[in-house]
């Protein structure tokens, strides 16, 4: 029976690289108020990192890292956090206003609630894109029947 996932080289490289991808995604998200990027771009990169793991190791292994239900839960968490940031703004005045102190420019911890919303968006987008990918790939697998190798090489 063919082993799930791709060849050995791909697996070894993925093991080395996926941590760096996650780190890069965290950098893009956290520095979103200082350099180009922000929540969405970082979230997409993180989702791509997870998709790389799914492609390289097969879905069964990837389900141990993050399962379908896990992706949906993180999705909800990210959305709720973003909504919380928007609603807490009411304490300061208007909907969605900045309620954390704006420190000096160019520091990592500055610009008030914007880094928090960036993190929330990053988590949400990553979970969401991963969920979309898993939904589409599960569908293909269910139609292809056996042969796990086929579905991953599409």
């Amino acid at each position: 029976m063919p082993r799930p996932g791709m060849t050995l080289i791909v697996k070894e490289v993925t093991k080395l690289v996926s941590g760096f991808i996650a780190l890069y995604a965290a950098y893009i998200v956290l520095y979103g108020h200082l350099t180009p990027g922000g929540g969405f771009a970082g979230g997409v990169i993180l989702a791509c990192g997870f998709i790389l793991i799914v492609l390289a190791f097969g879905r069964d292994f990837a389900a141990q890292v993050i399962s379908d239900a896990g992706a949906k839960s993180w999705d909800t968490f990210g959305a709720m956090l973003f909504l919380l940031v928007a609603l807490v703004g009411y304490r300061v005045g208007a909907f969605f206003s900045n309620f954390l102190p704006l420190r000096s420019n160019f520091r990592l911890v500055s610009a008030g609630a914007i880094p928090v919303s960036n993190i929330a968006i990053g988590i949400k987008v990553a979970a969401c894109l991963l969920g979309v990918f898993l939904a589409l790939s599960v569908y293909r697998a269910a139609r292809a029947g056996g042969g796990e190798e086929e579905e991953l090489h599409d």
Partner: protein, 121 residues
């Protein structure tokens, strides 16, 4: 008549035309999806190009610079924020279209639009 400066905008419109042609005239479902993606990205491109200012710099504030000075000679940052949102919307539409196309293929057995015509009248 058509100056060199207008060329990028015209090309964005040509891209939009290609996308609309693919949506309306192609028979394969996947080609329609690709046409949709091309059309959306063409409009996003047009929107970003609208913010261009001749000789402008990227709108990133560096240390020691004042915001008012930067605003005077940077390109317009607002269209860039707009197209970030528009790209996300395009992604959602594309994901939905692909999911629908997969299911249609399961039901009808084909991607050919002329055979996917159960609804009439």
């Amino acid at each position: 008549m058509i100056s060199r400066g207008m060329l990028p905008y015209l090309l964005a419109m040509v891209l939009l035309g290609i996308g609309v042609y693919a949506i309306t005239c192609k028979k394969n479902l996947i080609k329609v999806i690709v046409g949709m993606v091309v059309a959306e990205y063409a409009v996003n491109l047009f929107l970003v190009l609208l913010g261009y200012r001749a000789g402008g710099v990227a709108p990133i504030l560096s240390e020691g610079e004042k915001a008012a000075d930067l605003a005077r000679h940077s390109v317009d940052p607002l269209p860039q924020a707009l197209i970030l949102t528009a790209i996300v919307i395009g992604l959602a539409i594309t994901a939905l279209m692909v999911a629908l196309a997969l299911r249609i293929h399961e039901r009808y057995g084909t991607f050919d639009l002329s055979e996917i015509r159960k609804l009439k009248g």
